[in-house]
């Protein structure tokens, strides 16, 4: 019996030569990632359970990336980073991306691929639900809690229930110019619901996905958790290998789903038929088309996060914002310092992207998670009142970006930028149509 990519990775990392959905297996962990929110309690449990002087199972495999509550005066948040700093020094960890140092990166889910930790065929656990982003590289990657992280720190292993796999195929050979991966995943989450993939893998494939960049693929896998998915995967191809090879010398072994693998269900989407999508407050599956919501009044636009703060997200936003005056308070937060640097060097019609945003009056933040998840009250871009915001982030639960009174619409960088220009929800085809026809 054939196996899916996910089943194959779990089998390769366990005592079994083959696994089936529903069974629990203990797997060897290739990479454990933690950050400033969940790192300190994970370290606390590790030290309590394995002893104050215990060493982590393999310091080459533990990656610590502070990113959530970084640029804040909050003393408790700052203490969290101090705890990571002390632990990394004590354990002599080679992969600690300290705040305030040249190593500081920003959002962990984008920093991991940039630093070469998202390798096909491997197992990555992280103390953050969006760890599933790394599935874009054909890696088994999923979020865990502090106790599980502490267990891995001591043993290098964790039990996993093998998930069933749902397959999503994209037909079409290229992305229409007004469409982004964010539209595709909002459509899918809207179709299957916020618990539509609970306990399952979401595997993306088809000719459409071959046409997508690694950044597009990361946007898809990032949000599988918003459908309850355990992990999301894309089969590795030449693009994957090229991206990873550029960033690591470490050996890895890509695996692929067998032709006779068993799937829980199959879905097919034609890129040509898809349109810009929006998730209305207060759930990522509360779908509507941007066109249906046109004219909805807004107070703020936000472009950032692990889902919507990559270079291609800002390139898209700049296409629409360039030369326009903005009617909304617009916040720009690059996911990582590497992306922030590229905003300075990458140009559109000869102008650096960062200059386009500055000229339009955008507020520009430092690389970090910032207001994606609220955070301390002084967090950059946080919604502290009953504002209505359109955002490229991945969650719009009540209070997610700060105030319980706020309302958040989720959309692609194109749609957010188009809305920032008009002050109301706007289908980006208004701005991009001429390139389509």
């Amino acid at each position: 019996m054939g196996m899916t990519l996910t089943e194959k990775i779990l089998a390769n990392h366990s005592d079994s030569s083959s696994v089936e959905p529903g069974e629990s297996v203990w797997v060897d962990v290739d990479v454990l990632m933690t950050h400033d929110v969940c790192g300190p309690p994970s370290i606390g449990i590790f030290q309590k359970q394995f002893g104050e002087d215990a060493r982590v199972w393999d310091k080459e495999k533990l990656v610590i990336i502070p990113d959530h509550y970084i640029f804040t005066e909050d003393k408790y948040a700052n203490r969290n980073v101090d705890i990571l700093r002390a632990f990394a020094a004590d354990q002599d960890l080679p992969y600690f991306y300290d705040v305030g140092s040249d190593d500081y990166k920003g959002v962990c889910h984008i920093a991991l691929p940039e630093e070469g930790f998202t390798r096909p065929g491997e197992v990555l656990f992280g103390t953050d639900s969006h760890t599933c982003t790394a599935g874009a590289f054909g890696q088994f990657a999923t979020g865990i809690g502090n106790t599980d992280a502490a267990f891995i720190m001591g043993t290098g292993k964790l039990w996993v229930k093998v998930p069933e796999t749902m397959r999503f195929d994209f037909e079409g050979t290229s992305m229409p110019p007004y469409l982004m991966a964010k539209d595709l995943i909002l459509q899918i989450i809207g179709d299957i619901g916020v618990d539509g993939a609970t306990y399952r893998t979401m595997e993306f494939g088809g000719p459409g996905i071959s046409a997508m960049t690694m950044e597009d693929r990361m946007t898809l896998t990032n949000m599988v958790i918003e459908a309850g998915g355990k992990n999301g995967v894309v089969e590795p191809d030449a693009k994957t290998e090229a991206y990873v090879r550029e960033r690591t010398d470490k050996d890895f072994e890509p695996v692929y789903s067998d032709a006779d693998a068993t799937y829980h269900s199959r879905y097919s989407y034609n890129l040509e038929d898809m349109v810009p999508m929006v998730a209305k407050p207060h759930s990522p599956d509360n779908k509507a088309t941007a066109l249906e919501l046109e004219g909805t009044k807004l107070d703020r636009a936000y472009i950032g996060s692990c889902t919507g703060g990559k270079l291609s997200d800002f390139e898209a936003a700049a296409e629409i914002i360039a030369g326009n005056e903005l009617k909304l308070d617009t916040y720009i937060v690059p996911a990582t310092t590497e992306i922030a640097d590229k905003l300075e060097t990458h140009t559109l019609n000869g102008k650096p992207l960062i200059q386009i945003f500055r000229d339009a009056g955008c507020h520009i933040g430092q690389a970090s998670c910032a207001a994606c998840l609220g955070g301390p009250s002084d967090t950059f871009g946080r919604l502290n009142n009953a504002e209505v915001c359109i955002s490229t982030t991945n969650r719009n639960y009540p209070g997610r970006m700060g105030s319980k009174q706020a309302q958040v619409y989720l959309a692609s960088p194109y749609t957010v930028a188009a809305s920032a220009v008009t002050g109301k929800i706007t289908d980006p085809r208004v701005f991009i149509q001429e390139t389509v026809i």
Binding site: P41, Q49, Y397
Partner: protein, 190 residues
Amino acid sequence: MSNEQQIEGKAFVLGKNIDTDQIIPAEHLVYSLDDPEERKFYGRYALSGVPDAESGLPEGNTPLVEEDKFESEYSIIVGGPNFGCGSSREHAPASLDIAGIQAIIAPTFARIFYRNSVDGGFVVPYESLEDLSSKVSTGDTLRIDPQNRSVHNITQDETYEIRPLGSVADIVQAGGIFEFARKEGMIPCQ
């Protein structure tokens, strides 16, 4: 298979898709779980992100933990489908535990929340066969009887079915993944 304990207490009822930001808003995740004084704040703010009208159904406007208190008078949460969706923050089941919650009954749970509840030994997540959030009222006294896979609503004299814990029962009974692993000889006893 199971010798899990019966749990009896007052129910606190919530709707569907209760996410981890509602269970413990991200701004409160800065307190130390190891410091006894700071730890109490996780109890105080447990479920503080739930919109007021949906907190303590059917009437709503009922906080899990009264203002200025750190523990709740309720010990069992009854929720709708997809309980615990969202973040991987283990602070979510921990905060419910710190507030005094022993068990959650919901038709379905989000995967990471379920796993954190079990592996950390915080609260026992029981899956109900039907959505009980419209049958049970906040304040009803419930008795969970895992042996008989049932929940008795003592206030309304009704009985509902729950699923067995299945493969995680051993971890629940051990009190968490570390206790389980020591029992199994995977890691040395302290």
